[in-house]
């Protein structure tokens, strides 16, 4: 009995120390990544290739999800707003929720599970099959050649994907609100335009998605780089990427929102 309690406590302590350890090595990893980013800009084709894999290939899932989220917002918003006779505000509701919150956050969550997991698995496998070691032997820095292009590709793609998500969502809200339910089209757009401020809403949304892009790709590349070089290790790293990206995105969102709301007062 006492022994099993001690074992549990020991495991808990080990996990705690291990996670602190990871925070430290992730910071060092991020610093190394930034300091070796020069190659990515000198040979921008490397980054473009990765943008194709993480950005272009996430386009369809992001666009379709955005459309659906916008349509659901339209339906749900109409249901509630009609009680107060304010159905014309549906455009404002859809646009503000998408541009401020749902666009950056949901797009980042989808990005983490679609592109982040792929990055981790790819780098983890490269490590397991000793490709990274081989590169090192040929005096090619894996950090500059493999990790940094993926990081910058993610940082470039994320704000664009979030913008596409929001735009598609607004279009979905328009489809449901105006085409399906029959809210006046002029009121739909004018209420939206009166409420959405380019600097406080649209720009802040872009800043959020930019920060999420950094967080997700750093986590994804680090987990891949840090994965134990076995099949099990790679699968565990992929899972960790999705889980810790999701938690990081939501926690960062809270912090950023608190800052942004305070700044706009």
């Amino acid at each position: 009995m006492l022994k099993s309690v001690r074992l549990q406590l020991g495991r808990l302590g080990h996990n705690f120390i291990d996670s602190i350890w990871r925070v430290g090595s992730m910071t060092r990893f991020f610093y190394l990544l930034l300091s070796e980013s020069g190659t990515s800009f000198k040979r921008f084709r490397l980054v473009m290739r990765e943008v194709y894999f993480v950005g272009v290939q996430s386009f369809v899932i992001i666009a379709v999800s955005g459309l659906f989220v916008g349509m659901v917002l339209g339906l749900q918003g109409y249901e509630t707003l009609q009680r107060y006779g304010a159905t014309e505000s549906i455009g404002m509701l859809v646009a503000l929720s998408l541009v401020r919150e749902l666009g950056p956050v949901v797009a980042a969550l989808l990005f983490a599970s679609r592109a982040g997991s792929a990055i981790t698995a790819e780098i983890g496998l490269m490590k397991a099959t000793e490709q990274l070691t081989a590169m090192d032997m040929m005096a090619v820095s894996p950090m500059a050649r493999v990790i940094a292009p993926r990081f910058w590709a993610g940082v470039i793609s994320m704000p664009l994907l979030a913008a596409i998500f929001s735009a598609m969502g607004v279009f979905g809200g328009y489809l449901v609100g105006v085409v399906l339910i029959g809210v006046d089209s002029g009121a739909f757009w004018s209420q939206m335009q009166a409420a959405v401020d380019v600097r406080y809403d649209v720009f802040n949304g872009v800043v959020k998605s930019f920060v999420f892009g950094i967080a997700v790709t750093v986590i994804a590349t680090f987990e891949g780089f840090d994965a134990p070089p076995t099949a099990e290790g790679v699968s565990g790293a992929t899972t960790r990427t999705v889980v810790s990206s999701a938690l990081t995105i939501l926690a960062l969102d809270l912090v950023l929102t608190a800052f942004m709301l305070r700044a706009s007062d």
Binding site: R45, M48, R49, V51, Y52, G55, V56, F59, A95, V99, I156, S157, P159, L160, L161, A163, I164, S166, A167, M168, V170, W189, M192, Q193, A194, V196, D197, V198, D201, V202, G205, V206
Partner: protein, 155 residues
Amino acid sequence: MERTTIDLWFGAFVSAGFAALLILALKVGNIGAEGQRDSYKVEARFDNIGGLKVRAPAKAAGVVVGRVERIRLDSATYQAVVTIKIDRGYQFTTDTIASILTSGLLGEVYIGLDAGGDAKMLADGGNLTKTQSAVILEKLIGQFLVDKAASGGGK
């Protein structure tokens, strides 16, 4: 420099992303309509601004003609000094009355501008001298109760 398919995809993706941003800025956020236009600033002093906020609209006859740019307290007179940015296309007389109003019971607080009959027009940096402060509901109710008590006491 030879072209690759990746270039095409990259170009298409980046253009789609920027197109989406442009839609958000123009169609959803309506950037060009205000802020970019030529405008002039006038100052108005109020005893109490109530719930007026920066970026609140200034309306004349219900039409939005400008926005509140800055609100500060004059520490000499203890009055609120509100800087209003008015569209260059709208001219107001120097005896324009600025009042702080609320649209509806719970609506937004805005500045209502009622033009007077003066021949001179406000210029940039001008002052609105005739102002009407916000109605503070609590004070109103308090006054009503006092009046009621006073008239009730006479009976």
